[in-house]
């Protein structure tokens, strides 16, 4: 409506090209999997009890991780909601967002530093003459790590829900002398209950497709998930049939979870909800309950902060200067930055193409079924790319390129492309609402002034949209920078990224180096995140990975 004919065609074709590129990239990988597995062989693999044991373990650990994360998040969120004003609260809320942006690999190192055999927890028990009973490798470790990353996510979403409760409810509760139980039953639970399904579904999805944590903390065949098994099948056993069968299983599993998620109410976005500052809670004005709440909040904060502190302390103790001048470090850093920047730019370009094309189609008075379908496909891409996890995508491309001896040459491109797809849902989440608001504010005015093309971009769009665009770019880069999943299959002498270097140092027991690398990588990601969220655009600050 507000676009010139040429603009309309340009927007539309960019969107279609991006859509075809994304679908093509995924389709090639999946087709390669199907072709290479010679489906019969792959089907035979499904008879192995090993495969079913892995599927069972994948579901089992995801179920337990979800249960623990959500069950622990509820009391934490309730306590935080009951204490809306205390010094440092804002920092705890910010800290809750850190695990989402933290490279999983670094989190794993920090967790080992606290909960590992030589970690602080076992040290403390040892001092108390209780020995070192906690064994981090295996199910316990996976659960600790998954809860570390997902408890704050769940708590944030539930807290945001609780902070949307009208002030008057709690005032009324205080006035009517409602007992704590009744406040929970009549006010808090009705808010939490509808959130739980969405939150749990999201966490289950994240845990069922968790790769890096399980790779590092899983212990042999007894504690391996499908994703890690695919990696092992290719990297160690070179058993393509098994990799293909497992990939098929993984796609089926993610498809089922995604389908279930589509039926669940969406977990609300915490960023845009709490518009006003939460008020006091006259209903929770007892000394005992205050003490208990603060004790719980303190425990939760320690749980979040100790692994981070351990990374800083141990990293600072490593030979950082020595690391910085190592040629392999410099090469890895350069490679990581190149891949991260390319991935972020590609992701941004795809997202922008989708958004402008969807905008162009929506602006049509009566879009035909083809246009409507295309717009639907583009907006659904944000979650559809989750269907084929990075390891599976990588496997497909790996199998396709190997016969031609191209795995090394093409590896950086494939890794960057996979990273770009991984970042896509997140980039879309940040940009879509920002663009919608921007469009509604400026489209009519710009059209009436005859602003179009580059002039419009320079005068109207860039100033209005640069913040969300930079936020998306920074987060996508951080995501790619910290990712071990895509690079795991291709990594080696030819392709070394920072996470890969860290992982291989860890594998050769050069723990000092690994700690130093973790600190450097963490600092890089932190700088990107801070740069991306500085002077945030309204409503997009607390975007999250889906």
């Amino acid at each position: 409506m507000y676009l010139t004919g040429a603009e309309f065609r340009r927007n539309l074709s960019a969107g279609f090209i991006a859509l075809l590129a994304v679908i093509g990239f995924i389709a090639v990988a999946v087709t390669a999997l199907a072709g290479f597995g010679r489906l019969g062989d792959a089907a035979a693999v499904l008879d192995e009890p090993y495969v079913w044991r892995i599927l069972r373990f994948t579901l089992y650990q995801a179920f337990l991780s979800t249960l623990l994360s959500v069950a622990l998040a509820i009391p934490v969120a309730l306590a935080m909601a009951r204490r809306p004003h205390f010094p440092g609260r804002i920092w705890i809320v910010r800290l809750m967002a850190v695990p989402l942006g933290l490279p999983v690999l670094i989190g794993a190192l920090g967790i080992i530093g606290i909960w590992g055999r030589q970690g602080l927890f076992n040290d403390a028990l040892d001092l108390a003459a209780l020995g070192r009973p906690l064994q981090i490798y295996g199910l316990q470790g996976i659960l600790i790590a998954h809860v570390y990353f997902n408890l704050p996510l769940a708590a944030r979403l539930i807290l945001a829900g609780l902070e949307r409760v009208p002030q008057e409810y709690f005032k009324t509760a205080a006035m009517l002398a409602m007992p704590r139980r009744t406040v929970f039953r009549l006010i808090e639970w009705p808010v939490i209950a509808p959130l739980i399904a969405g939150v749990a579904g999201l966490i289950f999805m994240l845990c069922a497709t968790s790769f890096t944590l399980v790779l590092i903390l899983g212990g042999g065949p007894a504690a391996t998930t499908i994703e890690v098994a695919i990696y092992q099948a290719l990297r160690f056993d070179f058993n393509p049939a098994r990799a293909v069968a497992l990939s098929g299983l993984q796609i089926t599993l993610t498809a089922l979870v995604l389908a279930a998620l589509a039926f669940l109410p969406r977990a609300g976005d915490p960023g845009t909800s709490a518009s006003s500052e939460p008020g006091r809670r006259p209903d929770a004005d007892h000394h005992l309950s205050r003490g208990m709440d603060f004790a719980l909040i303190a425990l939760f904060t320690l749980w979040l902060i100790l692994p981070l502190a351990v990374i800083v302390v141990k990293g600072a103790g490593a030979d950082l200067l020595g690391l910085l001048v190592e040629p392999v470090f410099i090469r890895a850093t350069a490679m990581s930055l190149v891949i991260a920047l390319s991935a972020a730019l590609v992701s941004l370009a795809v997202a922008l193409s989708f958004i402008t094309a969807i905008g162009a189609i929506r602006a049509l008075r009566e879009p035909g079924p083809f246009y409507r379908g295309s717009a639907g496909a583009m907006s659904a891409m944000g979650s559809l790319v989750l269907l084929v996890p990075p390891i599976v995508l990588g496997t497909g491309w790996f199998l396709l390129l190997r016969p031609f001896g191209l795995t090394d040459a093409a590896a950086p491109v494939i890794v960057a492309a996979i990273n770009a797809l991984m970042a896509l849902p997140f980039v879309l989440r940040v940009l879509q609402p920002a663009f919608a608001v921007h469009r509604s504010r400026t489209a009519r005015l710009a059209a009436s002034l005859g602003l179009s093309g580059l002039a419009r971009l320079r005068i109207v769009d860039w100033p209005g949209l640069k913040r969300p665009v930079l936020t998306a770019l920074a987060f996508a880069m951080a995501l790619s920078l910290g990712d071990l999943g895509a690079v795991a299959l291709f990594g080696g002498d030819q392709l070394t990224t920072l996470p890969w270097l860290l992982y291989s140092r860890l594998g050769s027991y050069r723990t000092d180096d690994a700690n130093g690398l973790a600190l450097i990588l963490g600092a890089l990601c932190l700088i990107l995140m801070i740069a991306g969220t500085r002077a945030p655009a309204s409503g997009t600050r607390e975007g999250k990975k889906p």
């Binding site: 009324t172 205080a174 409602m178 009705p190 006091r280 004005d285």
Partner: protein
């Protein structure tokens, strides 16, 4: 009917953010007093202090001769009606009203009868099983009045209770408020922006300015 208590603020001071409020004055017992003033001047803070949602940093809040400072909201002889969200959206009107009798919702036959009578009194006969969302704004405020009736506290504080209603409905609700006041003889304090509304219902007027009570007449 026993005389309803007066309310006295004895240098009751409270700092909130960059504002420091200091209230001195008396609100007559058994009368309707309107509280006016610009937004942000401290009308709601005054109500919060009297109701017990806020505690004064210094000074005293006295109701009926008794110092209220350390008394919990629920123990004060006060009921508050807010502009909105007086009703829990997922509970029906009967339950919402019943919470005024027993916060744990343990209601005997007599209680149930009282609740239905109160609903009938405010013009919500037969609304027992309706959900708040299916009611108009005015009907929801009527339900809040019904709950205040069954709570039976001698002081009623209203924080812009009719601000979300259209003018005609406002007049009706003002009349209902006055009728209930005449029946119970309670002490009523109502925050209002509407000169007409103040004219219609109030015996006295307080003006809040510069974070304190400035005029009283």
């Amino acid at each position: 009917m026993t005389q309803s208590p007066s309310i006295r603020l004895d240098a009751a001071a409270l700092a909130l953010g960059d504002k420091s409020f200091r209230f001195n004055g008396e609100i007559a017992g058994g009368r309707v007093t309107a509280v006016t003033g610009r937004s942000g001047s401290g009308k709601t803070t005054l109500l919060n202090l009297i109701a017990g949602f806020e505690k004064p940093d210094s000074g005293r809040v006295i109701i009926g001769g008794e110092t209220m400072n350390d008394l919990h909201v629920a123990k004060r002889p006060v009921t508050v009606v807010f502009q909105e969200n007086n009703l829990f959206a997922h509970l029906d009107i009967f339950t919402n009203t019943g919470l005024g009798v027993s916060a744990g919702l343990r209601l005997d036959r007599e209680d149930r009868l009282r609740i239905s009578e109160a609903l009938a009194r405010v013009g919500l006969e037969g609304f027992e099983r309706r959900m708040p969302a299916s009611l108009s704004g005015g009907e929801r405020q009527r339900a809040a009045f019904a709950r205040a009736l069954v709570r039976n506290r001698p002081v009623l504080l209203l924080d812009e209770p009719f601000a979300a209603l259209d003018p005609e409905m406002r007049g009706e609700m003002g009349t209902l408020l006055l009728e209930l006041h005449a029946e119970t003889g309670n002490t009523v304090m109502i925050v209002s922006h509407e000169p007409g509304e103040v004219e219609q219902i109030a015996d006295h007027r307080l003006v809040i300015e510069n974070e304190a009570i400035s005029v009283r007449y």
